[in-house]
Amino acid sequence: MYELLHDLLGDSLLVYVIGAALPLLFVLPFAVVAVLLEMKVSAHMQDRVAYMYTGWHGVLQPVADILKLLQKEDTVPAAADKFLFRLAPFLVFMGGYAGFAALPFSSAYIGSNIDLGVFYILAVSSLAVIGLMMSGWASNNKWSLFGAMRSVAQIISYEIPSALSILVAVMIVGSLNLQEVSKFQEGGIQNWIVFGGPMPLLQKLLLLPFTITAFFILFLAGIAEVNRTPFDLPEAESELVQGYNTEYSGMKFAIFYLAEFANMFLVSGIVVSLYLGGWTSPFGDVMSGPIWSFFWFVAKGMFFVFLQVWIRWTLPRLRVDQLMYTSWKVLTPFLFVCIFAVGLILVL
């Protein structure tokens, strides 16, 4: 997309601004929809009905919530480190949002068609860790600090399984560019990397158990990286009030919230592009094309967002030691086996 804009408008500041702001056109409406989805799904899973009065079945409630948050007083604790406190939410959001640049939304659109796509996303989303730590530290509140500590420990340890499981797909495709990865999987549902990729049948069958495992682990690690239940130790409401965003109010809190939802989609987007064919249609050439591919990407992404919501309202929170156990003693060894096996199969 950047190249196209560059050709169109020349080397001007406008190109960068438009290029950077385009994913926002998706992220902001998505956050509104995701809030509603989360509330409605959680309510119906508990046999409730959630919002019913704002608009048809309460569909306008997120808009009302945003309006309310805009009007809230923006408080800063007296003993907080004011500068870091104000900086933190933006850094957290930036970490998630910057990842959207390398996400191929459609066969015609990718923010920046760089060769290091996935690697860039992994690197830039680590920025959020600094933001979280900053918010916890600057709040000068023990719950915030606890939350921040936990979140940093968690995200750093879950980066390893997520990076390794990305590696499995990258080994099969041979490219870090998510656009290339998506193109590689074109041709229908059987060519998706979860199902072994577009390989000869025997190789496909051999790859199948490992790709499925890696796909599953990538999704799990993704949930852990966005700090959602069952891995929501950083903001464990029952233990830590709200974790690192305890002291935040108004728009700053809203930005944390937005970052969470942006990250939710980013994680889903990575999982979808790497393992579920990205923007490719599950029916081969039927319903493909730039617009259909955008639809497929968003539909698949939304399915994984729904899955995250579903998991959140089903499973209880893990203990800290269980969390670390899962990451280091279960996911990582399994992935080593996967990488070894996939490498072996690909070489043979």
């Binding site: 799904v41 119906h44 899973m45 046999d47 409730r48 009905v49 579903w310």
Partner: protein, 210 residues
């Protein structure tokens, strides 16, 4: 169980139990919600539900039994005796009314909804209804006045009673004077009970809250 088996067993347990939970929640996602949109839709109350008290003041004979039965003293009744020349009518159960009821107040904020006042009522004029939405911004509005006598009617009733009492006293005095040769028997001073009800006059608005 060996270490290795335990390790894989744990993983299997984690996955299978999570799957059971996920199955439960997805099933509930598609079961109809049990929520009742309360102000729009209301649950039917049980037939004998006890909620706000209502007094059919037309049937009240002022016997004060409900006020005496009340464990929290939320019912206050004042009565004025009717004189023989007044016809106060009969209740729907056919009982003759002998007392005016200028004050019949129920402080519903104090009421504990025990229903004990309902049983002793000889004319079944006090009852518990199924109305339960009667919150007020001012708690004084929760003191319901059921009497419908106007201040004028109350004064008239009192005046009549006073006159009747005076006449009776005078008659008694005369009778006493006539009966006994000894003069100057002081008339019995029991003829002025309505005086204590002076303060209740302003309060007794004919205010029926339902």
């Amino acid at each position: 169980m060996s270490e290795v088996r335990l390790y894989f067993n744990n993983i299997w347990m984690a996955l299978s139990t999570a799957a059971i939970g996920m199955k439960t929640t997805i099933r509930h996602l598609f079961t109809p919600a049990v929520t009742i949109q309360y102000p729009d839709v209301k649950l039917k109350l049980p037939e004998r539900a006890r909620n706000r008290l209502y007094v059919n003041i037309d049937d009240c004979i002022g016997c004060d039994q409900c006020a005496m039965a009340c464990p929290v003293d939320c019912i206050s009744i004042e009565t004025i005796k009717g004189t023989p020349d007044q016809d106060l009518g009969v209740t729907s159960t056919g009982q003759k009314k002998r007392l005016h009821v200028p004050v019949f107040d129920i402080d519903i904020a104090k009421c504990c909804y025990c229903g004990l006042c309902v049983y002793p009522c000889p004319t079944e004029c006090i009852m518990m209804t199924d109305v339960y939405e009667f919150s007020e911004f001012d708690r004084h509005n929760l003191n319901y006045h059921y009497s419908r006598m106007s201040p004028g009617e109350i004064t008239v009733a009192k005046e009549k009673l006073r006159k009747a009492d005076e006449e009776a006293a005078a008659k008694k005095a005369a009778a006493a004077a006539a009966a006994a040769a000894k003069p100057a028997t002081p008339p019995p001073a029991a003829g002025t009970p309505p005086k204590q009800e002076g303060g209740a006059q302003e309060q007794a608005k004919p205010n029926n809250p339902s």
